[in-house]
C-alpha cells in the first residue's frame, strides 16, 4: 500500500472514531426501545416527552440567560481590552498577557474551585451575594473575556496600519476612529468571537457546577445529574438537539469569519 493510501485509510478510521459515538446517540434518540440498544423502530416520543418536561424549559432559559448576559459583557470588555493591548505599551502589559492565558490553560476544575472559594469568601462579607445565576455569569465572563480578547487581538494585528494613519489624516481620531474605521474592519472577528463565547458558555459544565447555587441549574448540569442516575432516551434526544444547535452555530461562524 502506498503512503498516500495509508494516510487516507488512517484518516477515515479517525473520522469513524470521531463520529461513531455522536451517531450512536443521534440514532438511539429515535429508537423506540427504552432500555435496549437494538433497533425497535423509529419514534419521536422521546422528543415529545423531553419537550413536555417543564423543568427542561427552565434549565434551557437559565442556560440562555447566562450565555446571553455573559457573552454581551465579555464581548464588549474583550474588544476594548484587545484594542488597549494592541495599541499601547504600558506597565504590566506582559503580566496582563500572561493572565489572559490563565483561564484558557488552567484545568477548569481548578478555576471552578478557585471561583467557588472566592465567591464564598465575598459572601461572608456581603450577605446579599450568594451562589446563583449571577455567580455563574461572573465566572463565565472570566473565561470568555480571555478568548474574546485573544481572538480580536490577532485580528487587530492583521490590520493594515496605513488605514489607521489615513483615518487620522482625515480627521478621525479617538472614539470616532474606533467607530468609523477600526470596528467595521474587525467586525467579522468580533462576531465570531461573540459566537464562540456564547457556545463556550452554553457548553460549560465544570465551572458552572462549582459556581451554581440552588435554582441555577443549566442544561449541562441537568445532563450530568441525569447521566449519574442512568442513561435515558430523553437525554439522547436533548443531546441530539444540542448537537444540532452547535452545528448551526458553527456554520454561521464559518460564514461570518470567512466573509471578506
Amino acid at each position: 500500500m502506498s503512503g498516500r493510501r495509508l494516510l487516507t485509510a488512517q484518516g477515515l478510521l479517525v473520522l469513524a472514531f470521531l463520529y461513531l459515538p455522536i451517531l450512536v446517540i443521534i440514532a438511539l434518540s429515535f429508537n423506540s426501545s427504552r432500555y435496549g440498544v437494538n433497533w425497535q423502530g423509529f419514534t419521536l416520543k422521546w422528543y415529545k416527552q423531553l419537550l413536555s418536561h417543564s423543568q427542561v424549559h427552565f434549565y434551557l432559559v437559565n442556560s440562555l440567560i447566562v450565555a446571553g448576559v455573559s457573552t454581551t459583557v465579555a464581548t464588549v470588555m474583550g474588544t476594548l481590552l484587545a484594542l488597549g493591548l494592541s495599541r499601547y505599551r504600558f506597565f504590566g502589559r506582559g503580566g496582563l498577557l500572561f493572565l489572559l492565558y490563565v483561564p484558557i490553560v488552567i484545568p477548569d476544575v481548578a478555576m471552578g474551585a478557585a471561583l467557588l472559594l472566592f465567591f464564598a469568601w465575598v459572601q461572608r462579607y456581603l450577605a446579599a451575594f450568594h451562589m446563583s445565576l449571577i455567580t455563574v455569569i461572573l465566572a463565565h465572563i472570566t473565561f470568555q473575556v480571555a478568548y474574546v480578547t485573544l481572538i480580536i487581538k490577532s485580528r487587530l494585528a492583521g490590520l493594515d496600519p496605513s488605514l489607521h494613519e489615513a483615518a487620522y489624516d482625515l480627521g478621525a481620531a479617538g472614539w470616532k476612529r474606533f467607530w468609523l474605521v477600526t470596528l467595521p474592519l474587525i467586525w467579522p472577528g468580533v462576531a465570531a468571537a461573540a459566537l464562540l463565547a456564547f457556545t463556550l458558555s452554553l457548553d460549560d459544565f465544570v465551572i458552572t457546577f462549582f459556581t451554581a447555587g440552588p435554582g441555577s441549574t443549566t442544561l449541562p448540569i441537568y445532563i450530568f445529574s441525569s447521566v449519574k442516575k442512568g442513561v435515558t432516551p430523553e437525554i439522547h434526544a436533548l443531546s441530539t438537539l444540542m448537537i444540532l444547535v452547535t452545528t448551526l452555530i458553527l456554520i454561521v461562524v464559518q460564514r461570518v469569519s470567512t466573509r471578506r
Binding site: R4, L7, V14, L15, F17, L18, Y19, P21, I22, V24, L28, G36, V37, L80, L81, L83, L85, S86, R87, Y88, R89, F90, L97, L99, Y101, V102, P103, I104, V105, I106, P107, V109, A110, A113, A114, L115, L117, F118, A120, W121, I141, T142, I151, S154, G174, L202, D203, F205, V206, P220, I223, F224, K228, V231, S239, M242, I243, T246, L250, Q254
Partner: protein
C-alpha cells in the same frame, strides 16, 4: 504602535478587562494559595492558624508512616495525561496531513471542528452508551458471536473517552502548522541524498513543531485535570487529582486541603505554560488559540 503612558486613552480600553481578570482570576488564584495553608474551620469554612499540614498530607507525611495515596493519585493523573497525549499524537499527526493534502479541506476541517464543539458531557456519556453492560459494543459483539466485555466502569473506558475528547484539540493547531509547510524543503532534502526518515525528521517535523507543541499542551493540561470523565466512566471514588479537588470542595468539604490539591495542579500547569512562553514568546502564545 502606540505611545507610552497615554493613560487617558488606555483607561477606557484596557482597564475594565484588566480589572476583571485581576478580580476574578488573579485574586481567586492567590486566595487558593492562601487557603491551602489554612485548616478546615467551623461550618466547613477555612480558618487559621497557618499550617503546612495540607501539603504534608498531600505528600503522605502527616501520618505515622509514609502513605503516598495522593502522590499516587497525582501520578495516575499525569500518566493519564501523558499516555492520552501520546495516543492523540499518533492518531492526530497523520490526520493533520490527511486534511492538508485532501481536496476537501474545508469539509474535513468542519468535520473535526464539529465534535470539538459538541458538548463535552455528551461526548463522554456517549461512551457509557457504548461500553455499558447492555450497550452498543456488547450488542455488536453478541451479534458476531463473541462474549461480552465488562468495560463500564473501567480505566479502559476513561482512557478511550479522554483520547476521544481531546483528539480535536491536537488536530486543529497542528493542522494550522501543516498547512503552512514549505514542501520544497523536503525536495531539497531528497536532492541532498536524505532518505524518507531523515527527510521527515529534518525537513517536515521542524516545520510542524510549533503546532505540535501547542496541541500537546491543549491535550495534556485538561486531561491531567479532568474529573468528569473519571467520575462518569471510572470505577472507584478517588481516582484522579480532579476528583480529589471536586470531592474536597463538594461532599468532603475540606476546602483547605482541596485548595492545596488545586494549587498543586495549577502549579504543574502554570509551570508548563511559563516554560512554553519562554520558549515560544508572545507569538507562540497566540498560536495556542
Amino acid at each position: 504602535m502606540g505611545s507610552r503612558g497615554d493613560w487617558k486613552k488606555l483607561l477606557p480600553t484596557a482597564l475594565p478587562g484588566a480589572a476583571w481578570l485581576v478580580a476574578f482570576m488573579l485574586l481567586p488564584s492567590l486566595f487558593v494559595f492562601y487557603a491551602s495553608f489554612l485548616q478546615r474551620g467551623a461550618n466547613g469554612w477555612i480558618s487559621g492558624p497557618l499550617t503546612l499540614s495540607n501539603y504534608l498530607r498531600f505528600l503522605g507525611l502527616d501520618g505515622e508512616s509514609f502513605d503516598p495515596l495522593y502522590l499516587k493519585i497525582l501520578w495516575r493523573s499525569l500518566l493519564l495525561g501523558g499516555v492520552t497525549t501520546a495516543v492523540v499524537v499518533l492518531l492526530g499527526y497523520p490526520f493533520a496531513f490527511f486534511i492538508a493534502l485532501s481536496k476537501r479541506k474545508n469539509l474535513l476541517l468542519l468535520l473535526v471542528v464539529l465534535p470539538f464543539w459538541t458538548n463535552f458531557l455528551i461526548r463522554v456519556y456517549a461512551w457509557i452508551v457504548i461500553f455499558q453492560r447492555r450497550g452498543v459494543l456488547n450488542a455488536f459483539l453478541a451479534s458476531v458471536g463473541f462474549n461480552p466485555l465488562h468495560l463500564y466502569p473501567s480505566w479502559t473506558a476513561v482512557y478511550v473517552a479522554t483520547v476521544y475528547t481531546y483528539l480535536p484539540f491536537l488536530i486543529l493547531p497542528l493542522y494550522a502548522s501543516v498547512e503552512k509547510i514549505d514542501w520544497t524543503l523536503l525536495e531539497a532534502a531528497y536532492d541532498l541524498g536524505a532518505g524518507r526518515l531523515r527527510g521527515f525528521f529534518h525537513a517536515i517535523l521542524p516545520q510542524t513543531i510549533a503546532g505540535l507543541v501547542s496541541g500537546v499542551m491543549l491535550v495534556f493540561i485538561p486531561a491531567v485535570g479532568t474529573f468528569v470523565i473519571s467520575d462518569l466512566l471510572g470505577a472507584g471514588k478517588t481516582v484522579l487529582i480532579g476528583n480529589v479537588i471536586q470531592q474536597q470542595f463538594g461532599s468532603s468539604r475540606d476546602w483547605a486541603f482541596g485548595s492545596a490539591a488545586a494549587f498543586v495542579l495549577m502549579a504543574v500547569v502554570l509551570l508548563g505554560l511559563w516554560i512554553y512562553a519562554r520558549w515560544a514568546g508572545e507569538k507562540g502564545l497566540e498560536d495556542l488559540l
